[in-house]
Amino acid sequence: MKFWAELSFLAKLRLFFVIILLSLMAIILYFKIIPFGQITYERHWPTVLRSGKGFIYDFKPQERVTDDGQSLIIKADPVYFSLFTPRRFDRAKVTIKYYNHLTAATPIIELGLLQDKISGAYNLQPLQNNILDSLRFSWPRLEDSDQRLILQAGKYYSEVADFESDLAAGHLRNCPAGPTSCVAVYNYHLSSDYGVPDYVRLTPFSLSHPLRGSHQFYVYLKKNLWRLDLSFINENKDRVADPIIVNVYDDGKIIATQTIVDDNLNPTGVASEEKKMSLSGTVLHDGVYKVEIKISDDVIISSLQIPSDRLSFVNKIWPASAGALTLFTDASYIQARTLDPVNLGNINFGGQDFNLSEAYQQFTFATGEPGIKELQLSKDDITLANNGVFAFSRAGLFNPAPSKVDRFFVEGGEAKYIIANYDRPINQDGLKTASAEFDMSAASYEKGKYTFLISVPGLEWASDSDTVDTFLDIKEISVELNGKTLWQKIWR
C-alpha cells in the first residue's frame, strides 16, 4: 500500500494502462494457443453484431451463394467456405441449422472437408439423405443404431447376426448375384471380396489416351509379381510446384507408394517436362487393388502400363487428347464439363445424344438403359464424373464396390439391402439441425485455414433466372474443435 501511495498520479495511470495492455495480450495469447485444446466457433444468420472477420467465412463461388446478413442461401452445388483456426486440431464436429427448400430431385445434403489440395479430395459426411429418411419407414429395419442402419426391401432376415454371417459368406437371401449387386451403401465401407474365378489375363493394360489430373482406378491383379509403369508430362502452365504421388491400396491399406517432388517452383518460360515412375511388388492373393494418382491439373498421365486387362477408373476420368474417344461406364448418368469451348458438342451416352453446349458449366446426362453403357465423344478433354466406374473397353470394366444410395437411387431397383452410417437431422418447426464429425489430423491445413464444402448434388441455378425457388437456407454453422492440450504438446 505504501508503494501505491508513493506513486504519482501519472505513474498510477500508466500502470493501469500497462496492466490493461498486458491483459489484452494474455487474452490474445490464450485464444492463439487454446491451452485446453477445445474451442467452438460459430456463425449465425441473421448477423446481429460482427466486430471481426469471424472464423467461418469466405463462402464461394459468389454466383452459387447469397449472404445478405439475414440468411446464407445456397443456390447451387457445391459451395466452399473456410474455417480459420489459430492452431491445428484433431477432431471437429460441425453442426448446421437450416431450412430445407429443396425438391425431390435434390434429396441429399453433405458436408465435406478438404483432405488433399493436390487431388482436391474431400471427406464427405452426410447431413441429410431424404431417400434413407423415407426408406427407414417403408422398408423393414434390421438394425437402427448409432453406428449402423440396415434396411431390407423385404422381411428376409430377422436377426442381424444371420445377415452378417451371410454377408461375410457372400450369399445373402434373395441376392443370387452376390452382395455387390444387391447391397447399396451410404457413408459405410463394405469390404468386398470381389473375385474372378479362373481369371486369365489376355493382354496387359496400356493407356491409349492421355489423362489430365488426379485419377483413381481399380485393377484386378493375379497373385504374383506386378509392376506399374507411369509417364507424366508436367505442362508447367501454372506457377506452383506439381508433385506426383502414387499410392497402391489393398483393401484400404497402402502396399506401395512413390513420390516425385517438383523442384521447378518458378516455371515461367520453362517448357513442359516428362517424368517417369515405376512401382512394383508382389501381391499375395488374386483380387482387386486400388491405385491413386495424385497430381494437379497441370500434369498429364501420358502412359500407364500394368499387367492386367481389367482396369476401371473410379468416379472420374479426364481424357486429354482432344480427339474422338469411346468409353464405357456402369452408372446411369454422367456429369460432363469442359474448360475449352472448342470441345463443345454432342456426347452419345447409352445410345442417346446429349449436347454439351457451354464451357465451364457442369451438365448432367442421364439414361434409363440398364447395365454397361457406351459413351462416345467426338472430342475429348472433357471431365466426366459419376458414381460408378469408367473403362476404355467393355471387357475391362468391372466395379467391385457396391452401389451408393445417391440421388439416382431407385426404390425397387437391384438393391435389396441398404447399409448406412447415418443419423437423420433433428426437425424443430421446419428448422433442421444436422451434424457431421471429421478427423482433422489428415485434413489439408494451409495458411491457418481448413476448407469445407456444402454439397447438394443436383442443385443447379440458371444464371438467367431472377428468382431462386430451390435452395438451402442456412441459419447457423458451429464447429466444435478438439485437439491436444498445451500439456500434451509439451510433454509428448
Binding site: F17, M25, F31, G52, K53, F84
Partner: protein, 58 residues
Amino acid sequence: MAKNLALISREIFYFFSATLVVAIILELIWPNVILSYFNLNYLLLIWLLSALVVIFKK
C-alpha cells in the same frame, strides 16, 4: 482539473498507440489472430479520435 484531463487524454492516446502497434505486430506474426475477433479499423478510428482530443487540448 483541466491539467489532469489533458494528462489523461494524452495517456489514453499513448495507450491506444501502444495497443495498435502490438496488435499490428501480432497480426504480422500470426495472421488473423486479431482480425478474426476484432476489426483493427475500429481501433485505428479510436486512436485517431484520441489523437484529435490531445491536439485540441493543447
